[in-house]
Structure formats: structure tokens, C-alpha cells
């Protein structure tokens, strides 16, 4: 023991005790961090690098290098590797936060400029794209109707499929359905759009409409609903089912009156998240609904707009007034999706399944 403590730290002692080994002070990572950021900025300014991204990268590399060298000298190689791994993992997280922050900050800062009551209650009818003015009313109507119709189609099918998989499914069919539900989750939205295009519009000969868009959105929504509902139904304790069946209640009534009510909170959460996902889809709307400057309240005939499509359309106009409208619509869209997410979480917390334990 005493031998290990007297040894100098730079030679890698075979088994120094954890308690007696030399350790860096607690503030060491912070100190190294500050030093490397300062150095990074210094080097960036000195060599005339313009991008702050590069400053950050230099600082990051310096930090990792310094950490390794200093820890290796004081604490040994094992600890040095551990510290480097820790800082790398922290760096990964920071790297993910940067774009999220930048995206939200840009959208809010640019979107808030045009976003007002007028923007929310007017369409683009009679607005020259180069000029400020106009709004997203028609797009909001379109999004609400298309997403609503898609949910009306996808939710019952998704729920029933999940019930089948959890309550009835035993044999080969259930396995095949499970596999294809998983694969269906990965179908790109543009492919769903092309399918409805070839089936509904080219072969059956219907025109562009909000409903055609909803069909494609429903295809994207179904597997999400199935998966989340399945997870929730599996959480329902078997004792509840057995108790109900033991009272002589038929299986279908057990499912409707016992299983589904028990898990309704989680199911609602899954549905809201699925709605949030399809509300942001642009590609099917581009192919099937075709976009419209005017208010079209009827989703079953004629072209409509939708919020994500509106963002795309305004961006494509390529002038400052349109860019501002695009940012504002993006802000409305993010707000809509975030609200759905928060509501979903609130429902999940409020109606968490009581597992009886």
C-alpha cells in the first residue's frame, strides 16, 4: 500500500488504491473547459477563421486533448480514457442541443415578425407574393381537415388491429401483421403519396383534393397508432381480463368495457403523437392536394393548402416577404405540433394505467 502512494504518478502503478491515488480536483474539468474555449477563440481570431462553428470545434478538440494529457499525468491511463469518454459523451449531447436551439431560436425570431391576428385569419387570396400581407387561414383549415379525416380513417383501423394482435392474435397471421406493421412505419411519406396518386387519382380518376391527401396521411398514421396502442394494451394486467371473464362477461365486452378503458390514457397519447407526426408531412400534400391560395372548406373536392405545404410554397417564391410568411407559418406549425405533444404527455400523466401494484 505505502509503496503505491510513494510512487510517482507518471509511471502507471499496477494497483494503486482508489482512495490513496492522486486525483484531480473537482473543478478540473471546468477549468480545462474554460481554458480550451479561451484558446479556441484565441486561435480562431488569430488565424482569421470566420465561422464560430470552427471555434467551437477547435475548443472541443483542445478540451479532449488537454483532459487526456493532464489526467494521464495525474491519475493514470485508465482514468484518462474514462475522462475522455465522459467528455465525448457530453460533447455528443451538446452537439445535439446546438441545432435544436438554433432552429427554434431562428424560427421564433423570424416568425414572430409577421405572426399576428391578421396572419392567422386571412388567406393568400389577392396577395402579391412580393408584398407583405396575407396569411395562413386557408392552410390551417386544410391541415385541420386533412389531419382530422386521416385520423377518422386510421384510428379505428389502428385500434382494431392492435386489439387483434394483443387479444386474439396467436398464429402465423398475427406474426406477419406485426412484422408488416413495423415495416410500414418506415414507408417514406412520398411513397405513400405516390401510391394514392396511382390508385386514387390516376386509376380511379378522382381529382386532387384534401381527402386524397388524408388517405396518404392515414397510411402513415396507421402503423404508429397500432404500435403505441399495442404497447398500452400489453400493460393492462391479465387479472383484470380474467376477473371480467370469470363473471361470465363475453370477451368482446371485456375488451370494450375493461381493457380499453383501462388503457385509454396511453392510447390517446399515442394517437396525439401520431397526429403530430402527420400534421407536419408535406410530400403527400404536394402530390395529392396540390396547394391553393384561396380558402377551400370542402376537403372532398378541389385543391387545398396545408401548413407544411404553405411553408414550402412561400419558400419557393424566393423573396423576403414570402420568407417571412414561411417562417411565421413554420412557427404556427411547430406551435401546433408542440401543443399536441404537450397535451399527449398531460393525458399520459393524468390517466396513467393503474397496474394495481
Amino acid at each position: 500500500m505505502s509503496d503505491a502512494t510513494t510512487e510517482s504518478a507518471s509511471t502507471t502503478a499496477p494497483e494503486p488504491s482508489l482512495l490513496t491515488r492522486r486525483r484531480l480536483p473537482r473543478w478540473a474539468p471546468a477549468g480545462i473547459g474554460v481554458a480550451s474555449v479561451a484558446l479556441g477563440v484565441g486561435i480562431g481570431v488569430a488565424t482569421g477563421l470566420s465561422s464560430r462553428l470552427q471555434w467551437g470545434l477547435i475548443a472541443l478538440l483542445l478540451f479532449i486533448g488537454l483532459t487526456y494529457v493532464i489526467t494521464a499525468r495525474v491519475e493514470g491511463r485508465h482514468q484518462a480514457k474514462d475522462r475522455v469518454a465522459t467528455s465525448l459523451v457530453w460533447a455528443c449531447f451538446m452537439v445535439a442541443v446546438v441545432p435544436l436551439y438554433s432552429l427554434l431560436q431562428t424560427t421564433i425570431a423570424k416568425g414572430i415578425k409577421v405572426l399576428d391576428g391578421n396572419f392567422l385569419t386571412h388567406s393568400m387570396g389577392g396577395v402579391i407574393t412580393m408584398m407583405p400581407g396575407g396569411g395562413v387561414y386557408h392552410a390551417i383549415i386544410g391541415t385541420l381537415e386533412q389531419v382530422g379525416l386521416a385520423s377518422l380513417i386510421a384510428v379505428p383501423i389502428g385500434l382494431l388491429t392492435a386489439v387483434y394482435l394483443v387479444e386474439y392474435g396467436r398464429g402465423k397471421l398475427a406474426k406477419v401483421v406485426t412484422f408488416f406493421v413495423d415495416v410500414m412505419t418506415g414507408v417514406p411519406s412520398i411513397v405513400a403519396g405516390l401510391f394514392i396518386l396511382s390508385f386514387w387519382i390516376i386509376i380511379l380518376g378522382f381529382g386532387f383534393s384534401g381527402f386524397a391527401g388524408s388517405l396518404a396521411l392515414a397510411i402513415l398514421m396507421m402503423p404508429v397508432v397500432v404500435r403505441s396502442t399495442e404497447e398500452m394494451l400489453k400493460l393492462v394486467p391479465n387479472e383484470l381480463r380474467e376477473a371480467s371473464l370469470a363473471l361470465g362477461v363475453p370477451k368482446w365486452r371485456t375488451i370494450l368495457k375493461v381493457v380499453l378503458p383501462t388503457s385509454i390514457g396511453g392510447i390517446m397519447t399515442g394517437i396525439m403523437l401520431a397526429v403530430a407526426r402527420i400534421a407536419g408531412e408535406t410530400a403527400p400534400v404536394l402530390l395529392l392536394v396540390f396547394g391553393n391560395q384561396l380558402i377551400n372548406n370542402n376537403p372532398f373536392s378541389g385543391a387545398q393548402s396545408s401548413l407544411p405545404y404553405y411553408v414550402f410554397e412561400q419558400y419557393s417564391n424566393g423573396n423576403d416577404a414570402s420568407y417571412n410568411r414561411a417562417w411565421a407559418a413554420a412557427l404556427v406549425l411547430i406551435g401546433f405540433v408542440m401543443i399536441l405533444n404537450l397535451v399527449a404527455r398531460a393525458i399520459a400523466r393524468w390517466k396513467a394505467p393503474r397496474t394495481g401494484r
Binding site: S50, A174, G280
Partner: protein, 327 residues
């Protein structure tokens, strides 16, 4: 504690339990029907896309696989997917190279490094990344990311240009390149990779980790020896799910990439295209035949994503059985 008055008589066994009510049969029929409907939809996607695609490809005057340009609306139509396939794969590979290590790192951060109380808010932050619609990523990518990556592009060109990959033919051209698209896609698939990996890390048996700790391993050694080997197949399938998303991403690519029918190894040049981007860009002014041609390229994309996702799911399924046997 002594004799409680609970009635322990067993209820009389009912032999006529097998009687199925009409309600039961209807309900079973409905739910099984929905399951079958999902299969029918998947089959219909394949069939209807194939029907239109065959029509288009049989009238193609170029080679569908090796032609560079996409001129389906002229007569005679000449179009091919060479550039699109190349661009789709390259941009997805760039996205994977960036997103897999970072995504796994974030998952490790949330599961093993973050302070316990912060873990779930941080997980929520990652979910926020997933909730942002792709069109908003596209808008941000085109207006914010492209100008801000110009500096990085020039730097790469200056110091790594000799590799060819990071050579920028015209340094003054914008950063609307496959490289930028790859970075944007990486940001978009991060949440998928993170969430699936986190789920797998959570399943690592505590006993393995504690055993490693007891042997004096540092936290990193625990992760390398106990966590990562157990989670390897999970990470692979998480990456493939992310890959599936990156392959099919449409709007963000359509907005950011400056497309051209060029197949170049210089990733920083604004050139190339992807399946989904090409469909979104060409659809507006496509003729009836042009649409069929686009459907043909969509079919190729569908098959690729189907294979990638199917493989990912098979790996996950095999894992599940494995860990179930271990538990």
C-alpha cells in the same frame, strides 16, 4: 389472522364457456379484418406502384438503371436513376457516419452519464428534435445552415481538397451540396437512433454492469465491456431504422439541395439528387407519363426502404428472443 370469513368456495365450473356469442364473432372478425387490411394496403402499394412503373420503364428510351438525366416529359422520354440512387445513398451514408456515433453518445449520456434527475427532461429534449416537422428542418437548413456551412466547406476544400471527396470545383458556389444534405439528415435521424439505443441500453442486465464495477472498471470500461457488447445488435437496428428515414426524406432535401444530373465524387459541389427530392421537384410540371416515370423511381425507393427496415426489424426480433431467454 385466524379464520377469516372469506368465502373460499370455488365457483362452480362452467362447462358451456365455449359458446361464442355473435358479438364475439363480429368483434373478432372486425379486428382480424383490420389486421388483414393493413397487409392488403402494403400489398396494394407494391402492386399499384409496379403497374405504373412497368408502363413507364417499358417506354424509357434511356437505360432506367444507368442513365444520368431525368427527362421523362420530352419525346422520346429519357430517364434513369443512376444519379438519384447515388445521391440517395451518399447523403444517407454521410448522415449515418455523423449521426450513429453522436446518437449512441446521446443515448449513453441519458442512460449512464446525465444526473439522474435530469435524465427524463433531457430525453424530452431529444423527443422535441423528433417532433419538428421535416419542412421546418428544410427551411432552417436552406436559410440558416447553408450560408453558415460555407466557411466549413471552404476550410475542408482548402485542407482536405486533395482527397477528391472534399474538393469544391467552384469555391464560390453555395453549400447546397450532398454534404450539407447529409448533415441536415443526420440531425433529423438523431432522435430515432438515440431513442432506440436508449431502449436497448436500459435492457442491459444490471448484474453485468455491477460485476464490471466490482472488478474496478471505470465507467467507460463498464460501458465498453458490459453495455456495448450487449447492445450491439440493438445499435445496428437503430441505425438501420435511422437509415430508412434518411433514405426517404423528401422536403428537407428538396429545399436544400441544388440538384443537377451530375454524378460527382466531389461531395461539396452543389450537384446530384435523391429519389424523393427528384419526385418532389419534378412532379409539379410532370405530364401523365412523367408521373408514371416518377412512380417508377418511387418504387425503387420503396423497395430499398422496405429491405432496410425489414432487416432492422428482423435483427430486433432476434434480439428480443435472445434477451428473453437470458432474463
Amino acid at each position: 389472522m385466524t379464520l377469516s370469513t372469506t368465502n373460499t368456495t370455488i365457483p362452480p365450473p362452467k362447462a358451456q364457456k365455449v359458446v361464442t356469442q355473435p358479438g364475439d364473432r363480429i368483434f373478432l372478425g372486425l379486428s382480424r379484418g383490420s389486421g388483414i387490411l393493413l397487409l392488403v394496403i402494403m400489398a396494394a402499394i407494391a402492386i399499384f406502384l409496379t403497374v405504373r412503373a412497368v408502363h413507364a420503364i417499358s417506354h424509357d428510351h434511356g437505360n432506367f438503371l444507368s442513365t444520368f438525366e431525368w427527362n421523362a416529359d420530352q419525346t422520346p422520354p429519357v430517364f434513369g436513376i443512376a444519379v438519384l440512387a447515388y445521391g440517395t445513398i451518399i447523403s444517407s451514408v454521410i448522415a449515418m457516419v455523423i449521426a450513429v456515433p453522436i446518437g449512441v453518445g446521446i443515448a449513453l449520456f441519458i442512460s449512464h452519464y446525465a444526473p439522474r434527475r435530469l435524465a427524463s427532461p433531457l430525453a424530452y429534449l431529444v423527443d422535441l428534435l423528433a417532433a419538428v416537422p421535416s419542412i421546418v428542418y428544410g427551411l432552417w437548413g436552406a436559410i440558416y445552415l447553408v450560408p453558415n456551412l460555407q466557411g466549413l466547406n471552404l476550410w475542408l476544400n482548402e485542407y482536405l481538397g486533395w482527397t477528391g471527396i472534399f474538393h469544391k470545383t467552384d469555391p464560390s458556389s453555395s453549400a447546397r451540396s450532398l454534404f450539407t444534405v447529409g448533415i441536415l439528415l443526420a440531425i433529423m435521424v438523431l432522435p430515432i437512433i438515440t431513442n432506440v439505443s436508449r431502449e436497448v441500453f436500459r435492457q442491459v442486465p444490471k448484474a453485468h454492469e455491477e460485476a464490471a464495477l466490482a472488478l474496478g472498471a471505470t465507467r467507460w470500461e463498464v460501458i465498453r465491456m458490459a453495455v456495448l457488447p450487449f447492445a450491439r445488435s440493438g445499435i445496428i437496428s437503430a441505425s438501420m431504422l435511422g437509415l430508412g428515414r434518411a433514405l426517404g426524406e423528401t422536403m428537407a432535401v428538396a429545399i436544400v439541395l441544388s440538384a443537377s444530373p451530375q454524378l460527382t465524387i466531389h461531395l461539396l459541389d452543389p450537384a446530384g439528387g435523391t429519389f424523393a427530392q427528384n419526385i418532389a421537384a419534378k412532379f409539379g410540371e410532370a405530364t401523365d407519363f412523367g408521373r408514371d416515370a416518377l412512380i417508377a423511381s418511387g418504387l425503387v425507393l420503396f423497395v430499398i426502404t422496405l429491405l432496410v427496415n425489414g432487416a432492422a426489424r428482423l435483427i430486433i426480433a432476434r434480439r428480443k428472443e435472445y434477451s428473453g431467454a437470458n432474463a
